[in-house]
């Protein structure tokens, strides 16, 4: 019931006082009420719960999240290298960084 998947608005019509849409979920089309998202237009993506669109997907935020996720590796590596540089005497800091998947630390203290 709290599971809502994003779908694309493909058609909009008025049903009395309620603005209704047909929403495409990867090929399956369902009716959804747009009363709570008055700004939504055709082509927008919405999350639908029990026949009501409750949230419009924000493309910019979605791209930002994905960008952050893709950077996680580099960020972690940079921080680890920074910590190594601080911990290791300058003479030894030229050691090449470990490549490939990092070993999983053992049981936390």
């Amino acid at each position: 019931m709290c599971l809502g998947i994003p779908g694309k608005v493909v058609e909009i019509r008025d049903d009395g006082p309620l603005r209704m849409a047909r929403v495409d979920f990867g090929g399956v089309r369902k009716e959804a009420c747009l009363a709570y998202l008055p700004e939504v237009g055709i082509g927008d993506y919405v999350i639908v719960h029990v026949g009501f669109a409750i949230s419009q997907l924000d493309e910019e935020e979605a791209l930002k999240t994905l960008e952050l996720l893709r950077m996680i590796d580099e960020e972690g590596m940079a921080m680890e290298l920074g910590a190594m540089a601080e911990a290791v005497p300058p003479a030894a800091s030229g050691a090449p960084p470990a490549s490939g998947p990092k070993p999983v630390p053992g049981a936390p203290a």
């Binding site: 369902k30 719960h49 949230s55 999983v104």
Partner: protein, 382 residues
């Protein structure tokens, strides 16, 4: 599918698992609030891939599971009346009442119908003026806007044969009740993304501050959950306790104002009983007095209800996160999705059904962690 496939990328999932391991120095206990999140965690084996000592406690966010037995017994009493068409979300039909369930009642001839949207129930009422149409209005903040609109629509259409059996519950009071419990082990929450899409997250800020507990608004795809866990552990490791939003593509701080306006026009906050948990003050919605004529509990005399849970079912403790389905002697033996004893085995958001679907504690496990797909051939599984 757009906004779905990108968040199931196995290579990024693996990076996130590695990053969680890298930053974790201590054992932590996190609770994912929503049952939809529990299903993703268990299906993908995310909880089992976390560093040793980091534990996911499954929260009470399964609306079907927390609907009190008394309300289900009332639903059964109303649905059995010959003049009634009883309408409900499909999930509720197999939830066991004290003696039977709605599906069994339907098999015996009661007019019980599954609806996708509460507006469908209103349409059924408009098309059947000689019958009483009752809708079982259950759920968290996610279904409240839909259920409230159905009542408003029935009022607009002047329908006097439509009513709702309300059993609405709210997430923040349940989180507070968990934190107030003397046995509470939760150190951080993954808040339910879609509840926050409706209500925003301002209600969570005082909770994070008062109990010094990090709260991360989190989505439902594997990468959402992994990032939510990473953000929560990062806060714990740094000693911070604020509300952060992992699910920015769907959730704004203020939530959906239009939806909130309709919800508060139709409902008011009051005490609610949660199945397996007990009564929590100000933890649910009731119809406002001006919409009282749509209240099924006032329209139908249901008589004395004497509830009785199955003695082998430990759903209450599972819902509070103090035990898991693997601690239950009935799990997978007496209690299966085909023949459930308790609501968490029925619902698509129930913990027991999530464990069962993934084969946890059963002879043939079926789940395969997402990031294993990105493991080069020949490399040993972690």
């Amino acid at each position: 599918m757009k906004y779905v496939d990108e968040y199931r990328d196995s290579a990024i999932a693996r990076k996130l698992v590695d990053e969680i391991h890298r930053i974790t120095t201590r054992p932590w206990s996190l609770m994912e609030v929503c049952g939809g999140q529990t299903h993703t965690l268990v299906k993908q084996g995310i909880d089992e891939a976390l560093p040793k000592g980091v534990r996911m406690i499954h929260g009470p966010g399964c609306p079907v599971c927390v609907t009190p037995l008394e309300q289900i017994d009332k639903a059964l009493a109303i649905a059995a009346r010959p003049d009634v068409i009883f309408t409900s979300y499909g999930d509720m039909l197999r939830v066991p009442g004290s003696t039977t369930d709605l599906l069994a009642l339907k098999a015996r001839g009661a007019d019980v119908r599954i609806v996708y949207s509460p507006l469908d129930a209103v349409r059924i009422a408009a098309a059947n003026p000689e019958r009483q149409v009752v809708f079982f209005a259950i759920g968290f903040e996610t279904t409240a806007p839909a259920n409230a609109m159905a009542v408003r629509q029935a009022a607009r259409l002047g329908l006097d044969n439509f009513s709702v059996l309300v059993s609405h519950v709210l997430v923040p009071p349940a989180m507070t009740a968990i934190l107030e419990s003397p046995t509470c082990q939760v150190q951080a929450f993954l808040a339910a993304g879609h509840v926050c899409a409706v209500m925003g997250w301002t209600e969570y800020e005082p909770i994070a501050e008062k109990y010094h507990v990090p709260i991360v608004v989190t989505g439902f795809e594997p990468l959402d959950l992994l990032e939510g866990i990473l953000m929560a552990i990062r806060q714990l490791e740094e000693g911070r306790a604020v509300v952060e939003n992992q699910y920015a593509r769907a959730v704004k701080r203020e939530g959906n104002r239009e939806a909130q306006e309709t919800v508060f026009r139709v409902f008011e906050v009051g005490e609610r009983t949660w199945r397996g948990i007990g009564t929590i003050p100000a933890s649910g919605y009731h119809l406002r007095p001006e919409f009282e004529k749509f209240d099924a509990e006032k329209r139908f005399e249901v008589g004395d209800i004497h509830t009785q849970e199955h003695p082998a079912c430990i759903a209450g403790q599972i819902l509070q996160g103090t035990r898991t389905p693997l601690d239950c002697t009935a799990y997978g033996v007496l209690c299966t999705p085909q023949k459930p004893l308790g609501a968490p085995m029925v619902s698509a958001e129930g913990v027991c059904s999530a464990y069962h679907a993934a084969g946890r504690g059963l002879e043939a496990p079926t789940a395969f962690p997402l990031w294993e797909l990105s493991r080069p051939l020949g490399e040993a599984p972690r």
